[in-house]
């Protein structure tokens, strides 16, 4: 899958969060989170359940507005954009949802073709060919006419992945791409993530499968209860002496 290249900021940082906070009923679910993702790299966003990871990526995509702080994508402040301006920016983004979020009233082919059809730049024949081609690439040939309810969890994940990247966005966010999948299917998904990275995609990956994403990620952000516990590269987290970070990173019991 080829990636569309757009102009990268001079400092090479494609995604930047500055002091992002979100409150629900006066309780901080995200507390002044900072992060930076450089062009062509992958950031591993890790932490226990209900730490605020999915909320943070939704804020980055402009799906949820933060109460404090700013999010920049290619130096554009997402928090200041109107919905229509956000739509234009989202052409550079792809997102794979934790629970697939496939459109259940459409078949697989229509799900994948939708972003291309709405873009309005391709003919029906080329859209059909492209859908067949990307399904082939994720080892799911000929399932265009199946409905999402007829697919297994692993197939849904791969279809969701394909739908997110079919437009070749330069930035992709994966929210728990291997959650609930068997090791063989997880390995296939990690291979797709690796391929995307090799194509030059900038990405954020939320995952609990640290063994799977360890070879892929360049930077790490560990959050718990919305607070940053660690931010840095793989060698730094390897050497981190903070007890909770060591325990989480090595998967040691409490």
């Amino acid at each position: 899958m080829q990636v569309t290249h757009v102009e990268v900021p001079r400092d090479g940082v494609r995604i930047r969060c500055q002091g992002v906070s979100k409150y629900y009923r006066r309780t901080a679910v995200l507390d002044a989170v900072d992060l930076e993702v450089r062009d062509g790299t992958m950031l591993g966003l890790i932490g226990p359940g209900a730490a605020g990871k999915s909320l943070l990526v939704k804020i980055i995509c402009g799906l949820v507005a933060p109460d404090e702080g700013h999010v920049f994508i290619d130096d554009i402040d997402v928090t200041r954009l109107r919905e229509r301006e956000l739509q234009a920016l989202r052409m550079r983004l792809g997102m794979v949802f934790q629970n697939y979020a496939l459109f259940d009233f459409m078949n697989v082919g229509e799900n994948i073709a939708l972003p291309l059809r709405m873009e309005g730049r391709s003919s029906e024949t080329s859209i059909r060919n492209r859908v067949a081609e990307v399904l082939e690439q994720v080892a799911l040939p000929g399932i265009q006419d199946k409905m999402p309810r007829e697919l297994s969890g692993g197939m849904k994940k791969r279809v969701s992945f394909v739908r997110a990247v079919v437009r070749r966005p330069p930035i992709v966010i994966y929210d728990d791409p291997t959650g609930g999948l068997d090791p063989v299917t997880s390995a296939k998904i990690f291979r797709l993530l690796s391929d995307m990275k090799a194509q030059g995609t900038t990405s954020i990956t939320i995952s609990h499968d640290l063994d799977g994403i360890r070879p892929l990620c360049d930077q790490w952000l560990l959050i718990e209860h919305g607070k940053t516990l660690f931010s840095g590269d793989t060698s730094a987290i390897d050497q981190c002496e903070t007890p909770y970070v060591r325990q989480f990173w090595r998967g040691e019991p409490a």
Binding site: K58, C61, L63, E83, R84, L102, F103, D104, P115, R167
Partner: protein, 262 residues
């Protein structure tokens, strides 16, 4: 508990309920505004519109036919009491047709439509919301109002109007046959009094009402669907609220349109 805090409980409940209603009214107004903005120029996906016209209209035909036949039959039975008493058989078509076209048919069909189409619409959009399908549309740079709501809204207004016209026709047929078999009034006499005494305005009043009812069910059901929170329980609550709110709007608008046009 102190007496003052006990006394304040009913006021707090009334205040909370008032705020809830004001929030929903505000939400419905915003939804109506969002729809209006996308009507000029129209921003609608053609394939989605066709799919919704079929789901909303064609699939509602059987239920509307049954409703129409029984509405017409009941109007004739009710009118029949006086027709027999005053031997005014020449007015049965007018009596039944007048009430059917102006009031009963639009109201009954709108309530059936609300129960079938409005509830389903809220449930579908609500389920899409809680399963992140609406968020997925947004991340694909697709406007959920243009893609999801506009085709449904247009389909509801168009089909509500058509279904009331079909309902009117079936109600008249049902009424004519009921008057023939129950009251012994000839079908031809029924339709002659209908044609002689009913005016185009009587029919158009029902059509105007159908258009406003379609707008109300469309706006309300989409608003409650797109604002769902709280999983399956939230979807159930939203469907319930949507059906009740739409029914209230149908009665209020019926009063307003009748008052404005009479």
């Amino acid at each position: 508990m102190r007496l003052t805090s006990v006394l304040s409980v009913p006021f707090a409940m009334v205040g909370r309920r008032t705020l809830d209603i004001a929030t929903e009214m505000g939400g419905m107004t915003l939804m109506a505004g969002a729809i209006l903005r996308r009507l000029f120029p129209p921003r609608v996906d053609g394939a989605e519109l066709m799919r919704n016209l079929y789901n909303v209209g064609v699939k509602s035909f059987p239920i509307i036919l049954v409703t129409g036949v029984f509405v017409g039959a009941i109007m004739v039975i009710q009118a029949g009491l006086y027709v027999e008493k005053y031997e005014a058989t020449g007015f049965i078509g007018w009596g039944a047709g007048f009430a059917t076209l102006r009031e009963v048919s639009p109201i009954m069909i709108a309530l059936m439509f609300n129960g079938r189409v409005g509830a389903k619409n809220t449930a579908e959009i609500g389920t899409m919301k809680v399963t992140e399908q609406v968020d997925a549309l947004r991340t694909l740079a697709i406007d959920p109002v243009s893609y999801l709501i506009m085709p449904r809204f247009i389909a509801m207004v168009v089909m509500m109007t058509l279904l009331v016209v079909v309902g009117d026709a079936t109600a008249l047929i049902g009424g004519a046959f009921t008057s023939q078999f129950l009251l012994g009034v000839d079908v031809q006499l029924f339709f002659r009094s209908f044609v002689d005494l009913i005016h185009l305005e009587d029919f158009l009043l029902g059509v105007y009402k159908a258009i406003t009812f379609g707008i109300a069910v469309g706006v309300v059901s989409c608003h409650f669907g797109i604002t769902v929170t709280g999983g399956a329980v939230g979807v159930g609550r939203a469907v319930n609220d949507s059906v009740v709110a739409s029914a209230i709007w149908i009665f209020v608008l019926n009063y307003v349109v009748t008052t404005l046009i009479i």
